[in-house]
């Protein structure tokens, strides 16, 4: 296990492309604002279902996805909004899907937990913990068999690292030397259970050794740490050197789901992590390195808020799906009988 994290405060921007850094910042802000809006709108009863907020973990999705190409694959989770947006998901269709509208990514069939965009390599959020892990590996297998240098990334949580299919997938990906990067977002909790209560390993990335693959953890609130660790893993993958297990150490600011009363943790604990907010930290970095001023940061936020407003309007103005739409899309050829 290599420890690679250098605190953001001490980093330099040398070697980084300016545009890349700016787009990373924008992406983090976008996710934060979208998630905050969803929290608010959900509390107002504006959308059905459940919301699992990604607030506080933005650096991980953005750091990882900014190390990927458009044609690389990802699989995501129930807490997937950040991944979808970081990989370039269309905000209108994203928002409409969460609202359950016909203009959404799945026409309202999937909702928050099942957003996908195959053109962007997004093979789907997933409602089953760990469900996306073998799917990413299978996509990596496609890349390998096609002789392309595409890679796949699977996002999943600390809780997911305990489920059987995690083990099977990492083992098989290692045996087949597949170009896949397993990104475990250790956000301190699986539902109401703290990480140290559901496993006894020091770092989840240490589990890599069980598969003979490299493992590395990074500060999941440091977008550059996330980016760099991913770059290393992706390079190995593209070069045919097989999979890597990465662990992002981060924190879930909000409850497991919106509405979670959270008796299982203290507000002190949450507060401590809020002080490690990845967004101002990165803004500070950009400022120190003369890449973006505080004012420009404000503009980014304003622009993203405006874009977001349009997406919300789009979603709210979109029609509900027609009931009989439910009968399509189970198969490519059969349309089911309705009533």
């Amino acid at each position: 296990m290599t420890e690679t994290t250098v605190a953001l405060a001490e980093r330099s921007a040398d070697g980084y492309d300016r545009e890349l850094l700016l787009s990373m910042y924008r992406s983090m802000v976008k996710i934060r604002e979208v998630e905050q809006a969803l929290v608010r709108l959900f509390a107002q009863g504006r959308m059905p279902g459940f919301i699992h907020s990604y607030i506080g973990e933005e650096a991980t999705a953005v750091g990882v996805c900014s190390a990927l190409r458009r044609d690389d694959y990802i699989t995501s989770t129930h807490r997937g909004h950040g991944h979808i947006l970081a990989k370039g998901g269309d905000l209108d269709r994203f928002m409409a899907e969460i609202y359950g509208r016909s203009t959404g990514y799945s026409g309202g069939k999937g909702g928050s937990m099942h957003i996908a965009d195959l053109d962007l390599g997004i093979l789907g959020a997933n409602g089953i913990v760990g469900g996306g892990i073998p799917i990413a590996a299978g996509a990596a297998c496609s890349a390998r068999m096609a002789g392309s240098d595409r890679v796949a990334v699977s996002f999943f949580g600390d809780g997911a690292s305990d489920i059987g299919v995690f083990h099977e997938s990492l083992n098989l990906a290692a045996v087949w030397d597949l170009p896949v990067v397993f990104v475990c977002e250790n956000n301190g909790y699986a539902d109401f259970i703290a990480t140290h209560e559901h496993q006894r390993v020091k770092n989840i990335s240490d589990r890599a050794a069980a598969y003979g693959m490299p493992g590395e953890w990074f500060d999941g609130n440091d977008v550059l740490a996330a980016h760099e660790a991913t770059i290393r893993a992706v390079e190995r993958a593209r070069a045919g050197a097989g999979p890597t297990l990465l662990e992002a150490k981060t924190y879930r600011w909000r409850g497991h789901y919106e509405g979670d009363p959270q008796p299982y943790r203290t507000s002190d604990e949450v507060e401590k992590w809020r002080e490690r907010d990845p967004i101002p930290a990165f803004a500070g970095f950009l400022e120190r390195n003369q890449i973006q001023t505080a004012e420009e940061a404000g503009t980014v936020r304003d622009e993203e808020l405006e874009r977001l407003e349009r997406a919300i309007k789009f979603a709210e103005a979109s029609p509900e799906p027609e009931p009989r739409d439910a009968l399509r899309d189970t198969y490519t050829d059969i349309v089911e009988r309705g009533w």
Binding site: G111, M113, G127, A190, D191, E320, E336
Partner: protein, 323 residues
């Protein structure tokens, strides 16, 4: 009798059982915190962390540990938060829990209970809304129960936990907040006995779980139009109360089966097949099923309400069958 929610009645059934037998213990994700839906609320305070154990997200281990526990003198009660997640534990449920006694020629018994949160009407989409009871009724070695009221769920749970065989208990997620009266005394449901929730003469409606209240409301509507439906809540899918079914058909000669699971190869098919074999001569009309449409459960309310068997669709079918 005190009123309580269905979720509280589950917790009450569990605490009844834990109080009367100190071999009963509870395991599952978040159960020490009441579980995701509050159905184990308070148990840890009452019985301590040794008997109310949180697990990692490891459904196969949850059931597998229960198998080992049940074979060695304990009565584990495992929670699967959504029945959809039983898919992660099928080997342990089906190849181990269900078959162990048989494979050992009867030299062990497995008094384990598996509680599953079941069904839709939650806008939780395809992986969090399934009713998979048909899978389990197909597997010899398991008993399968479902309950639709606070009193019933408490009584069924108690019966399941006291039973010496593995029982899969379906708890309707959409009913968790519903209230009803629950007696103070621990009353267990008699194994394999259905409950006539509403007597009637014109047709027999067989149902269970989340569709029971919908069927009852539809039966009210029908009554207003002078159609008298007998509503039987089966409570147990295996063992099935075949006598109660036949008894009712002897009176009504018409059958409607209603369930939330997909129609195709749902447990309603087994009931229809049973009737078509054993009560064929009693029938005056085709056996009709109203069930989940044969598609995954979609997210948007407009879609989900169309797919799942709601009151309107049930009422229509009542009129058609009675006609």
């Amino acid at each position: 009798m005190p009123e309580m929610t269905y979720a509280d009645a589950v917790a009450k059934g569990l605490s009844d059982a834990m109080r009367e037998n100190d071999k009963v213990w509870v395991l599952g994700e978040d159960v020490s915190h009441g579980g995701a839906y509050g159905a184990t609320q308070g148990l840890k305070d009452l019985f301590g962390g040794d008997r109310v154990r949180d697990t990692p997200i490891s459904e196969a281990a949850i059931i597998g540990f229960s198998v080992g526990s049940a074979m060695t003198g304990w009565r584990p009660v495992a929670e699967l938060m959504h029945m959809d997640f039983s898919a992660c534990a099928m080997d342990q449920l089906v190849n181990q829990l269900a078959k162990m006694r048989y494979m050992m020629g009867g030299s062990t018994s497995l008094p384990a209970t598996v509680r599953c949160g079941v069904g839709g009407w939650l806008n939780a989409a395809a992986q969090h809304s399934q009713s998979l009871e048909a899978w389990f009724t197909h597997i010899p070695g398991l008993k399968v129960a479902a309950a639709a009221t606070p009193a019933d769920v408490r009584a069924v749970l108690l019966a399941a936990i006291r039973d010496d065989d593995p029982v899969i208990v379906l708890e309707s997620l959409s009913l968790y907040p519903e209230k009803g009266e629950v007696s103070d005394d621990p009353v267990a449901a008699p194994l394999g006995i259905a409950d006539v929730k509403r007597p009637g003469d014109d047709l027999t409606i067989l149902t269970w779980g989340g569709t029971v209240p919908r069927v009852l409301r539809a039966a009210e509507t029908a009554a207003a139009h002078a159609v008298s439906a007998e509503v039987i809540d089966l409570l147990w899918l295996h063992p099935l109360d075949r006598e109660a079914i036949v008894r009712s058909i002897e009176k009504t000669h018409r059958v409607l089966i209603v369930h939330q699971a997909c129609e195709r190869a749902g447990f309603g098919a087994e009931i229809a097949a049973f009737i078509a074999a054993e009560a064929f001569d009693l029938l005056d009309a085709p056996i009709r099923r109203v069930a989940g449409l044969n598609v995954p459960v979609p997210f948007a309310p407009a879609l989900e309400n169309y797919v799942l068997p709601g009151e309107e669709r049930i009422a229509r079918a009542i009129f058609e069958v009675a006609a």
